[in-house]
Assembly symmetry: C2
Homo-oligomer: 354 residues x 2
């Protein structure tokens, strides 16, 4: 059952389960501090494909394949796939997932998409609309850079506030707790999945927040206000404090956005810095990897969630986390037209339940 | 409660209600056969704005404003807005809806988005995740043409199979039947809304279907296979036949796509031509308006649904319809790279219940 807590937070009484998670990342990500946690690292970031767009589609396809395999489910068992990406018209999702034959709900939340897909998958499974859903998203440095900023060949200088789009994908398979899907014989006995352990307890949907940022190279600042707004609303709705959670992890605010988030929340007397991490600061080593303000992209928070965070929940080092993916709702067209860049941040609360 | 019928169809036992609907369209649409049904027609298709993208955002904003007004709800009463459009990164939704402060779930289903937003709004309200949701989408001929094909100034020749992107937006306000929202005093006594009359009974989510079409000027053909697939699966799941419905209305297959749809379904011994219409063929007069194969765009099916179809349900000329919005999942980039264009079609069954 879905209960509403406060104004905008949903609580799941049965709690959808994260049956499995998978992450596939590229070369630069495999040179970063999280390398040991990913399911697959790919040195050839074209994935053997002809174009970066096709490569990105293949990252997403592979994440779904690995996650399904770990979960022990066939594509036929998956009732819905919620997916999105940064490419124009979300084409890496539609071409990457085309062959699976799974009913498809395209989502667009920019880099917040991973939390949005998990939220939708959870609401669909908890409500009985589906037994098993997949939530997946991706990004690719090369396809994103030429689409949003400059062609790579141009060799443009990156500003200090710029972030580095992660090449990678993350997928979670989510199942309803009460619909028996997990208890069907064909899903039992697979040791590589979390089974009943990890559950989605709350979700809190983001609002579009505009901080007046007009610089497409300063995404962190554009998204920080949305992250602060969602964290503030969620803590209020649930009457909890930051220290009630093992970790509060934001999507890809990077260095600049993280500092602004702390400042905005401190104005509301909320201090999260003691147990906060940002996926954009976790996936790369900012000292040595020349990524400026950190990582970004749908694939950033997705691949960190589906690797390091998921596996640390499996091993019970983390038991109760807030995952807040953050997105900058912009296109090059409106930036060139002088429009400001709005942000959005969706929150998912993941818990270990046994 | 959400019941699953067959493999992919959802049946709502309480049935979410369409509290109101609103449509706002541009000049060419106001010269077409449906002019009397729209809530607002705008002769200046820039909406007084500086750019077409900003104009499109204003169409969407205004559709939400009119629908909310008709429903007698404040923006604060709306728990979620599901929205999407054709522009890169769905910017007309994010900039058009920015000021409302409503939790935002961006959807991308190309021209199938209107059915997808209604499906999500229905599942959210039926499950209790929200009391009242808005479902909205838009398109604009000028912003779409320069983004997907050629700049208007170029004066390119249009092919016979080309469709004309509708400039317009449609919005539905959807409320849960059992959550009391409709029965709150502030929502009673408004004569301009459907109140409890029109309900969402079924939804059937589309699969990504690829017909191998590579011509960006032949969207109808690219989408026809998806429409046939969804209609076929829905009729199977519900064990119904085309004549069980007053009208089967597809999104924007146009002339070419409609013919292919009939052909594909006839192979399965399903004949829908007696009670089928296509929004792309309804909104323009193909004889006099020089739109070639018909209208298209998210705003096509959205504005036809929220005007002619909705008002004919209100007056009980139509009591049980299938609305199947169809989308072509492509971007100019992948078309230029030689990729084929996949289609998707989501189905919503709307009924008069009293």
């Amino acid at each position: 059952m879905i209960k509403r807590i406060g104004r905008h937070t949903l609580e799941f009484t049965e709690m959808p389960r994260v049956v499995s998670a998978a992450s596939v990342v590229g070369k630069k990500e495999s040179e970063g501090p999280l390398v040991q946690w990913f399911d697959r690292t790919v040195i050839d970031t074209t994935m053997g494909g002809e174009t970066w767009e096709k490569a990105e589609a293949m990252f997403q396809k592979e994440a779904v394949e690995i996650a399904s395999q770990k979960a022990g489910v066939n594509y036929d068992n998956i009732d819905y796939v919620f997916a999105g990406d940064l490419l124009n018209q979300c084409v890496s999702s539609s071409s990457g997932l085309r062959d699976f034959g799974i009913p498809f709900m395209g989502q667009y939340g920019a880099c917040s998409t991973m939390a949005q897909t998990i939220a939708c998958a959870s609401i669909f499974t908890e409500s009985g609309a589906g037994d098993i859903c997949a939530a997946v998203t991706s990004s690719h440095f090369c396809s994103a850079e030429r689409q949003f900023r400059l062609p790579l060949q141009y060799g443009g200088q990156r500003t200090p506030t710029a972030q580095w789009t992660v090449t990678g994908s993350g997928c979670m398979i989510i199942s309803g707790a009460e619909n028996g899907a997990l208890r069907k014989p064909e899903f039992i006995g697979n040791n590589d999945r979390s089974s009943d352990q990890i559950a989605v307890k709350h979700v809190c949907t983001g609002k579009i927040i505009d901080m007046g940022i007009k610089d497409a190279n300063n995404m962190g600042a554009a998204m920080a206000g949305a992250a602060a707004d969602t964290v503030y609303r969620f803590l209020n709705d649930t009457n909890t404090a930051p220290y009630d959670y093992d970790l509060i992890v934001t999507g890809d605010l990077g260095k600049v956005g993280t500092d602004i988030l702390y400042e905005l929340l401190e104005k509301e007397n909320i201090k999260i810095s003691d147990n906060h991490k940002d996926c954009g600061l976790m996936i790369f080593d900012l000292e040595t990897q020349d990524v400026h303000a950190g990582g970004s992209g749908c694939g950033c928070s997705a691949s960190v969630l589906c690797s390091y965070l998921y596996k640390n929940m499996l091993s019970r080092k983390l038991n109760n986390i807030l995952f807040i993916a953050t997105g900058a709702l912009m296109s090059p067209t409106i930036v060139q037209q002088g429009e400001s860049i709005s942000g959005i941040a969706h929150l998912v609360n993941l818990v270990n339940i046994n």
